[in-house]
């Protein structure tokens, strides 16, 4: 098991997500707390461009763990789709219908994930640390695309 204090490779999606959680925890703890509440008692597997990571969610914290093989929620997407959503090039519905964003879970867990993503976004648009985080995410995505 990998704890939230472990450092994933800098350009990985896990690193971006860990940094963004740390920013929310530091800058907007009430929103981070709400995010934890939304996801509490669930294990989540996130796959982004083949990189798999796991989240073990507790009522007051979220821990990074090895990607679970049988998670409560599986979320699969790619960096391009994430940026398309951020830039409003694609709606959430379009991404789902095109299967560029896949969510596998029980209905109540899908609802919890949706609420959590909305809470995360509310934090992201209020936290002054996010523009720089997003800039770095764009840069690492562009670098990865250049290497592909």
């Amino acid at each position: 098991m990998r704890s939230s204090s472990a450092s994933p490779p800098e350009a990985s999606f896990a690193a971006f997500l860990a940094e963004s959680f740390a920013a929310l925890r530091r800058d907007l703890p009430w929103i981070f707390e709400r995010l934890c509440e939304r996801l509490a008692h669930r294990e989540i597997r996130i796959e982004v461009d083949g990189e798999a990571l796991g989240l073990r969610c507790e009522p007051h914290d979220i821990h990074f763990v090895e990607a679970p093989p049988s998670p409560d929620v599986l979320l699969r997407t790619d960096r391009r789709t994430i940026l398309d959503l951020v830039d409003a090039q694609r709606t959430l519905l379009e991404a789902l219908l095109e299967e560029r964003l896949v969510v596998l879970a029980r209905v109540e867990d899908v609802i919890a994930l949706h609420d959590a993503v909305q809470t995360y976004l509310h934090g992201a648009v209020r936290d002054r640390a996010f523009p720089a985080l997003l800039r770095r995410f764009r840069q690492s995505t562009a670098r990865a695309a250049g290497l592909a």
Binding site: I31, R34, L85, V86, D87, A88, T91, L92, L93, Q118, T119, L121, H122, A124, V125, R126, R128, P131
Partner: protein, 340 residues
């Protein structure tokens, strides 16, 4: 057209933020708003400063352009990228600049993440009007200064397409105050600029209401003839009727990421506003037909809600009689409607 003395402009229109105490800055909000109607392109530029929790300056430049469709962005700048002059209007936010130089406003904007840049010079042709201390219910207060008509010259470049213009009609207002987004207030605010350069008339409508637009707290219809404010019709003299709703297939939203939090295309923007004002033998009738809307979406300060500022582009026709003189104008208009 008359020109406003440079000294008057410089004395009236300056950032208030640098003069606020550190404690006052924490809740301070301030923005300078410009709308320019060039041939084939409408441009909205907004320079805003708000105070962070420690009283630090947080700045944004919002630039929206509409050719065949909307484009634009909201660019955020931290304190290390912000310079605000104390002695007169002058601000640098990253690569973006706003200042008063002589009798003109000079704007230079280059967005980092969208292929949009502009260099504009705006000369007021009407005297500014300043109004202090509009109460926003219990939510705070707002002060404003407006220059309803200017003429703009310069260049706007969008994705390599260059728009050059001289003498284009433009509008400016400057707002500042202490309040929280998400409070129990909303506003509708609009102006009309004649398409004819020789027409002396300019008009501004303002209405402050509760957040749900159920209770109008104050409203006014302001008419300028040439450089001077000619007639003010106030709350009790004005009847506003709204017809239908604007139903766009897509709504352009900035910051773009906010489309994930407010994906709806349904709006509460009236398709038509019909404003009739009459007092002491004078009467004015303003009709505004909404054509397009773009939304600036602001996170609420104290809850996880949002506030939507609808920038509604349309066509306005004003007619009536003031002190026996016939009033008529029609032309460009942008109305702003704040929605919960």
């Amino acid at each position: 057209m008359n020109t406003l003395p440079a000294s008057v402009l410089a004395r009236l229109d300056a950032f208030r933020f640098p003069h606020a105490t550190r404690a006052e800055r924490a809740a301070h909000k301030e923005w300078l708003h410009f709308c320019i109607h060039g041939p084939g392109i409408d441009t909205i530029v907004n320079f805003s400063v708000t105070g962070g929790p420690e009283g630090e300056a947080r700045a944004q430049v919002t630039a929206l352009v509409r050719e065949e469709q909307w484009d634009g962005d909201v660019e955020v700048h931290g304190e290390d990228e912000v310079v605000l002059r104390r002695d007169r209007l002058g601000a640098t936010f990253g690569k973006n600049r706003l200042e008063i130089s002589g009798e003109r406003y000079e704007l230079a904007v280059t967005l980092a993440d969208r292929p949009i840049s502009m260099a504009l010079s705006l000369r007021p042709t009407t005297l500014p009007l300043s109004k202090r201390q509009f109460a926003l219910g219990s939510a705070g207060s707002l002060h404003w200064l407006l220059v309803p008509r200017l003429v703009a010259s310069g260049t706007v470049v969008v994705s390599g397409r260059t728009h050059r213009f001289e003498g284009a009609p433009a509008y400016h207002d400057h707002n500042w105050g202490r309040f929280a987004w998400g409070g129990d207030f909303a506003w509708e605010w609009g102006y009309g600029l004649s398409a004819s350069a020789t027409s002396p008339w300019s008009v501004v409508f303002s209405r402050l209401a509760d957040r749900g637009h159920h209770e109008v707290r104050t409203q006014a219809l302001l008419l300028w003839k040439g450089a001077k404010l000619d007639r003010v019709l106030a709350s009790r003299d004005i009847v506003v009727q709204e017809e239908g709703y604007l139903r766009p297939r897509r709504v352009f939203k900035v910051p773009r990421v906010m489309a994930l939090l407010a994906p709806e295309t349904a709006t509460d923007v009236p398709r038509r506003l019909d404003i009739r004002a009459a007092a002491e033998g004078d009467e004015l009738h303003l009709g505004f037909e909404a054509e397009e809307v773009a939304q600036i979406i602001v996170p609420n300060d104290h809850d996880l809600g949002i506030t939507i500022i609808n920038e509604i582009r349309g066509f306005l026709r004003l007619s009536g009689v003031v002190r026996g003189e016939r009033v008529f104008m029609e032309g460009h208009a942008i109305f702003e409607r704040v929605t919960a």
